[in-house]
């Protein structure tokens, strides 16, 4: 009995001292964004390209992203990894790493499926985690021009 009480006290003490895992609060996010591929002169240090975009919905504000790798597939599809940042109108930031599949439709046109892993943020998104999936199209895509129109939906968790 004494031993059980001792173990119980130890658990309570651990919980009260904050060593127990902290529950994350998760919220759904959704909306749309439009990204424009910047010309080389506006992103000369990003050899695989950079976009700037406007975001609607939960993350309403601005976004920029650059490609970290691009791997062509035999059928014209592309496997792309990205680094995306969102800045909301309220001034909060969200940092993500993306993995996308661009399915070839016609020259310069792709159906895009992208998964963004949230790797932190600033302001109300400090320490954020979660995943955002996007589905959209790439329109007249080529180095330095073209755009992506996407819908996003996901779950954003903060400590």
């Amino acid at each position: 009995m004494t031993r059980h009480l001792t173990i119980g006290s130890a658990c309570l003490a651990a919980a009260l001292s904050g060593t127990a895992p902290v529950e994350a609060a998760c919220v759904p996010v959704s909306g749309k964004f439009t990204e424009h591929i910047l010309p080389a002169g506006s992103a000369p240090n990003d050899p695989a390209g950079r976009v700037i975009g406007n975001v609607d919905g939960t993350l309403k504000g601005a976004t920029t992203a650059f490609i970290t790798s691009i791997a062509p597939e035999l059928n014209g599809n592309l496997r792309v990894t990205t680094n995306n940042v969102f800045v909301t109108d309220e001034g909060n930031q969200l940092f993500t790493r993306g993995d996308a599949h661009w399915e070839f439709i016609a020259n310069g046109f792709y159906q895009v499926e992208l998964t963004l892993q949230i790797v932190g943020g600033a302001g109300k998104y400090a320490g954020a985690s979660g995943t955002i999936k996007t589905l959209g199209v790439g329109d007249k895509v080529k180095p330095g021009s073209g755009m992506f129109i996407q819908e996003y939906r996901g779950r954003l968790c903060t400590p």
Partner: protein, 163 residues
């Protein structure tokens, strides 16, 4: 004679077209103004831009998004900094404006600056194809450090597009 010319000049100035739709040697110029709120991105979000990159939200005539990177950064002994930069604006309507800029950051205290910046428009896309003109910004740098901080600026200027 000089007085007559001066009066004539003032008279002509008074008759100048309204701000919107001014014409200048084959171009149509429009006054623009508003505010922008720029956030310095952490190094991991702009690893290839040696002096850093910002992402911001724009209100007013160019409502939408902006991103920029520094092309030079020259600190002075008194704490002031002279920078040059490269901005890209994407409006909500989907038009882009590209600029090359220079700014003086006047030291207020550590991490805080008064910012006076001039952006020369160097083209664009959509309705801003081949745009010219300049934009003047006044604002503050707030908690500015490597990979952190923000700039809050008001802008005013003129965008000219070929007729």
């Amino acid at each position: 004679m000089m007085k007559t010319l001066a009066l004539f000049g003032v008279f002509c100035l008074a008759l100048a077209p309204a701000a919107r739709g001014q014409t200048k040697a084959g171009t149509t110029c429009t006054e623009i103004s508003g505010q922008l709120n720029e956030f310095i991105l952490p190094q991991a979000s702009a690893p290839t831009d040696p002096f850093g990159r910002i992402l911001g939200n724009v209100k007013g005539s160019l409502e939408g998004a902006v991103t920029a990177f520094l092309t030079s950064f020259v600190p002075s002994a008194n704490g002031n900094v002279r920078v040059t930069n490269n901005h890209a604006f994407a409006t909500l309507e989907g038009n882009q404006i590209f600029t090359r800029g220079a700014a003086d950051w006047v030291f207020v205290k550590n991490g805080f600056y008064q910012v006076d910046m001039t952006l020369n428009i160097a083209g664009g896309t959509g309705r801003y194809v081949n745009a010219t003109g300049s934009i003047h910004l006044l604002g503050i740098g707030n908690n500015v450090g490597q990979g952190t901080g923000q700039f809050v600026d008001e802008y005013r200027g003129q965008v000219c597009v070929p007729q």
